[in-house]
């Protein structure tokens, strides 16, 4: 088969033979691992960010210190954090999952807080006046209205995570990142094909994940179809005015 491109040392960037021989072996294995390592931390992060964000929105004085801690956590280089965790959890998925989950907090906590703050005060007041108790108000009114902002954060965290997982390859648990190590440490010089395969799959995975989350968000928030909405509301306002003038 024709090489996709020619590399510097006469070695093509992509050798299809490698893909053909490995797609249901190491490539598939790396992809599967990458998926697990990408989504587990996001889910875990969301489970922590929800109560934490709720608390920060409720007790506003809590928010600045929480924000400071999550930001500082994010500033710690991933590789350093992985190495620290190896000491506690060894060379397991946990070692990669926990630091990545901590990273997602710096995006997810603010998005939960901002989401809850996006609930208009008159809407919250009217929920109280209708006789919603605090829990029902949270579940039936505030969280649904916060959802678009939270989903936005979730998309950013997911995409960031998909790319970050590869760093785990440095301790031997890196999903598609593992292919990059394979390529770099190929006996007899660097071998670009596994690296290219890994990059392409990571990008595709990120795009697909973002698309899927966007569709989920659309499905969950049917009231958010903005463009059409505002035009229709504007038209409604015009005709209402006209009707009243005519009256």
């Amino acid at each position: 088969m024709i090489p996709a491109a020619i590399g510097t040392g006469g070695e093509p960037l992509l050798r299809w033979s490698y893909v053909r021989d490995n797609y249901d072996g190491p490539i598939w294995e790396a992809l599967r691992e990458h998926l697990v390592l990408s989504f587990t931390p996001v889910l875990l992060g969301l489970l922590i960010a929800l109560p934490l964000g709720l608390a920060c929105a409720r007790w506003t004085r809590l928010y600045p210190p929480v924000l400071a801690v999550t930001s500082v956590l994010y500033a710690i280089p991933a590789i350093g954090l992985f190495v620290v965790f190896v000491a506690f959890t060894g060379l397991t998925y946990t070692t990669v999952v926990v630091p990545l989950a901590l990273y997602t907090l710096s995006v997810l906590v603010p998005s939960v807080v901002d989401g809850l703050r996006s609930v208009p005060e008159h809407v919250r007041q009217s929920a109280v006046a209708m006789g919603f108790g605090p829990l029902r108000r949270l579940v039936q009114v505030e969280l649904p209205i916060a959802l678009p902002v939270v989903m936005g954060g979730l998309r950013v965290a997911t995409v960031a995570n998909i790319s970050l997982v590869s760093v785990g390859a440095l301790i031997g648990i890196g999903g598609l990142g593992q292919l990059m190590v394979t390529g770099m440490k190929w006996p007899g010089g660097a071998y670009p094909t596994p690296i290219v395969v890994a990059i392409v799959l990571i990008v595709v995975l990120a795009l697909v994940a973002d698309l899927v989350l966007m569709l989920v968000q659309r499905f969950l928030t049917p009231w958010e179809r903005s463009g059409r909405v505002s035009r229709r509301a504007a038209r409604a306002a015009r005709t209402e005015r006209a009707a009243e003038v005519a009256r």
């Binding site: 008159h122 009217s126 929920a127 006046a129 006789g131 919603f132 306002a237 009707a243 005519a246």
Partner: protein
């Protein structure tokens, strides 16, 4: 009947929002609380459904101290229309209207059917049922707000500046329909506004509040205009009296013009 007996609301910082208020609000009529901003009219309204708790004194509804009823239960029995409508953006118009019946655990199908009937009653096209609040104009949202407050058929309706966020022309229409609706329903309505014209137009009784949460005068609209009890009340009515008469004359003219216009369309069919 709603009764305030020696009611004071004092905030922790020492601000007195309502000062020793005694007020009897008759059943089946519209009582308007009016005054400049910061006069405690909204605070007074909210002490009826315990969104604000009185510091001193008692508020009773039909002889029952509101403090003896747990807030969510109390509130589900009292309709509330908030400024800017306060509709739930994530729920359809129909589900917004059915909010309180659903909270009360009523059958979903029934609640929605009742909500549909209410839409017609407040002058909303049935086509809006499955839309979301953002797809409606301000005036239409306000109608939904009124329908939502009426959905569980509460004997009392609290209305906090319900028509002040819409433009004056739409507001006039909403007020007229509100009066028509009330003539059928005969609810006990407490209506808060800062607009004395609106107070005079809608109220059977008007309570004028002044800054510091003091009741300045409580009487019928006629008597209020004829015999203001104090300089404050006179000033509050004052500057705008002439304008009010002028506006009245203009309204008559506009009405006559609309009736004579050959192409005058029935307003309701057009409201989409």
């Amino acid at each position: 009947m709603i009764t305030f007996a020696g009611v004071t609301k004092r905030y922790p910082d020492g601000t007195v929002a309502v000062d020793h208020l005694d007020l009897e609000i008759p059943a089946g009529e519209i009582t308007v609380l009016v005054g400049p901003s910061g006069c405690g009219k909204t605070t007074t309204l909210r002490m009826i459904n315990r969104m604000v708790e009185a510091t001193e004194g008692t508020v009773t509804v039909d002889g029952r101290n509101v403090r003896d009823v747990d807030p969510p239960t109390l509130r589900r029995g009292i309709g509330y229309v908030i400024q800017q409508a306060g509709l739930f953006p994530h729920r359809t118009i129909l589900d917004n209207i059915a909010t309180v019946p659903l909270l009360l655990g009523r059958d979903k199908k029934r609640a929605r059917a009742d909500a549909r009937a209410l839409m017609e009653r407040v002058g909303l096209d049935a086509a809006f049922a499955r839309r979301y609040p953002a797809q409606l104009s301000g005036g239409q949202q306000q109608r939904v707000g009124v329908a939502r407050a009426l959905a569980a058929d509460p004997p009392i309706l609290l209305m906090d500046e319900p028509f002040s966020a819409v433009d004056p022309i739409v507001r006039g229409g909403l007020q007229d329909e509100f009066l028509r609706l009330q003539s059928e329903l005969e609810k006990t309505i407490v209506f808060v506004t800062h607009d004395i014209d609106e107070a005079v137009k809608l109220g059977h009784r008007i309570a004028v509040f002044q800054v510091g949460g003091k009741l300045a005068q409580y009487t019928s609209p006629d008597e209020l205009l004829d015999a203001p009890a104090s300089d404050f009340v006179r000033d509050f009515l004052g500057g705008e009296r002439g304008i009010r008469r002028l506006r009245f004359a203009q309204e008559l003219e506009a009405e006559a013009a609309a009736e004579n216009a050959p192409g005058a369309v029935p307003a309701k069919a057009d409201e989409r």
